[in-house]
């Protein structure tokens, strides 16, 4: 762990020394015995069933370890016995708050292997739905954030406004949580009548929601003192642990797959900004997500005005056989880099699918970042890292 040690913060270094001291003292003095605290598996701050085992010295964490696997569903194995169109049903359930975004990279990988490209209209609508699922996902994060710190109001705002977005997704795809709308070569259906006007109205509401959250939370003194300077992740460490998405950009790395990796999607047809923050603390991670929600509403607004006409499905055979080869496609999902490594043997189903989900990497930094924080901050640091259990365990 030489690299990690080099960039250890002062506080973390002190905590480490304290832990060593606590161990040494244990046999000599009785009063500062270490204590093991079990958080979870059922705990309101863990967004599902994650268990965190923390060893404390007084109020300080000297060692922490998340224990996953309460929701392992074995999608990588299951995908090997399914056909390509059937896999989208599975991957929908990985990050269940932004389901549509999970389908896109898998479909893109299959299309890449088949050398098929979706028509422009389908690419446009895909991008719009992708950003809508981002808004639905992150707006819940913004509301939930308050609850971790004792602010009850924002979560009601979040559930209220997320419902508008879910209604849009339901209107277009038929499913609120698990659309299963993406097809190899395009989309299942076109947009319904009146959807565009409704979307514009909802985007306006969502921008108001972002302003409200900014007033309620980000300007709040308690929120700031609970998040600023806490759980700092420097740039080097963030990269090494493979943090992605808002967590990486909050550590000052200017990397957004939507902008930097050309994919057959419509992001480059809209004018938007990638936000970064130099601090790398809990506050920065939350703030980046707030800005990203705003940018996402802007992307949707712009794209919805410029949907090209044309078909929504490319010509693909009825029974889909994907030619032999390997493909990797990753997109910037609400939680970070989500990618699929698809190996095909020219059969009806994939030979091997490696699912690279963002939360798995994002939470793997927890043992590092939790070292040295105080007990109440465990919750805020984890909340700001933002993981979804289905996305860790797959």
């Amino acid at each position: 762990m030489s690299i990690t040690d080099r960039v250890l913060g002062d506080r973390q270094r002190l905590a480490y020394i304290a832990s060593q001291a606590a161990d040494a003292r244990l046999n000599v003095e009785l009063e500062t015995e270490g204590m093991t605290l079990n958080i979870g598996p059922q705990h309101p701050a863990t967004h599902g069933t994650l268990r965190i085992i923390a060893r404390l010295d007084g109020e300080q964490v000297v060692w922490a370890e998340p224990s996953c696997g309460y929701m392992h569903r074995g999608y990588e194995k299951l995908a090997e016995v399914r056909t390509y169109p059937q896999v989208t049903t599975l991957v929908n359930r990985i990050d269940w708050l932004g389901s549509f975004a999970n389908e896109v990279p898998f479909i893109l990988a299959a299309e890449k292997l088949m050398d098929v490209e979706a028509p422009a209209r389908a690419q446009h609508i895909r991008t719009i739905l992708f950003e809508l699922s981002r808004i639905a996902n992150v707006s819940l994060f913004l509301g939930d954030l308050g609850v971790q710190m004792g602010a009850i109001t924002p979560v009601f705002f979040a559930f209220r406004d997320r419902e508008y977005v879910l209604n849009l997704i339901e209107g277009a795809t038929g499913g609120r949580f698990h659309p299963n709308f993406d097809r190899i070569g395009g989309l299942k259906d076109d947009l319904p009548k009146g959807w565009i006007a409704e979307t514009k109205a909802v985007m306006k509401k969502l921008r108001t929601f972002c302003d409200q959250i900014e007033d309620l939370l980000f300007g709040n003194e308690i929120f700031q003192s609970r998040t600023r300077g806490i759980g700092v992740i420097p740039r080097d460490v963030a990269l090494q642990y493979g943090l992605s998405g808002a967590n990486l950009r909050a550590s000052g790395v200017d990397w957004d797959l939507r902008r930097d990796h050309p994919l057959p999607m419509a992001w480059n047809k809209a004018d938007w900004k990638v936000w970064t923050h130099p601090d790398g603390d809990s506050f920065a991670r939350c703030w980046i997500r707030l800005q990203e929600t705003r940018e996402a509403t802007k992307i949707v607004d712009q794209l919805i005005d410029t949907i090209p006409s044309g078909p929504i499905m490319a010509k693909v055979p009825k029974i889909i056989k994907v030619p032999e080869g390997e493909a990797w496609v990753s997109t910037e999902n609400p939680l970070g880099e989500m990618g699929y490594y698809v190996v095909s043997r020219g059969e009806l189903g994939p030979f091997r699918v490696k699912i690279r989900s963002a939360s798995f990497n994002n939470i793997s930094i927890a043992p590092w970042v939790l070292r040295g924080v105080y007990v109440p901050d465990i919750v805020t640091v984890l909340a700001s890292l933002y993981f979804i259990l289905g996305d860790i365990d797959r």
Partner: protein, 191 residues
């Protein structure tokens, strides 16, 4: 890149993406070179592939029939390979946004590889996952406990010769549980 890695690269492949295959004994040093000399600081993922096709197919065999004979010859993918198991990882350069997929053969007799958790700290959990799913050992890894499965779980689920039991017990697609419709003379129709 070739110049920096020298003869450690066995094979490479380029098509939309870049694949490299490095020598098994040079796995860790190649990753270190990629990180320190070539600036691939971003660790995306690490996993493994079992190149032997599954003897169970897609689990759709009729249990009343004798099992069909399947071709289980090992055919490696891009950038070649000599062994049944391969570990592969993807690392990226956060400045130039270039990424590379690095593959490495895992010896069949003793599936052990050097751990790269001290090169890329994020590889720690990925190696744990690969260990429990494929049974590949990572020498020098501090803690290869099971990540998802119970401690007393036997076998390595993502190996191709591990059967998907749910499909072994019950034939697929569900043709057993069709109850006759009330009033129907011929029973239910199964789609």
């Amino acid at each position: 890149m070739k110049a920096a890695l020298g003869d450690r690269v066995v094979d490479s492949f380029h098509k939309d993406d870049l694949w490299l295959r490095v020598r098994t004994d040079a796995w860790k040093s190649s990753m270190r070179t990629l990180r320190d000399t070539l600036g691939f600081h971003y660790f995306s993922f690490l996993s493994a592939i079992d190149w032997m096709p599954s003897p169970y197919g897609r689990g759709e065999d009729d249990p009343t029939e004798p099992p069909p004979v399947r071709d289980t010859t090992i055919r490696p993918g891009y950038a070649g390979g000599d062994t049944r198991m391969q570990v592969f990882a993807r690392v990226g350069n956060p400045v130039s946004h270039v990424s590379v997929i690095v593959k490495v053969d895992v010896p069949d007799a003793q599936p052990t590889l050097d751990s790269i958790h001290d090169v890329y700290a994020g590889a720690n959990w990925h190696e744990r996952e690969t260990h429990e799913m494929f049974g590949i050992n990572f020498a020098g890894h501090p803690d290869l406990r099971n990540m998802y499965l119970p401690v007393d779980f036997e076998g390595h689920p993502l190996r191709k010769d591990y059967p998907l039991l749910a499909r072994m017990i019950k034939p697929w697609p569900g043709i057993v549980d069709v109850e006759p419709l009330p009033g129907g003379s011929e029973g239910g129709d199964d789609e």
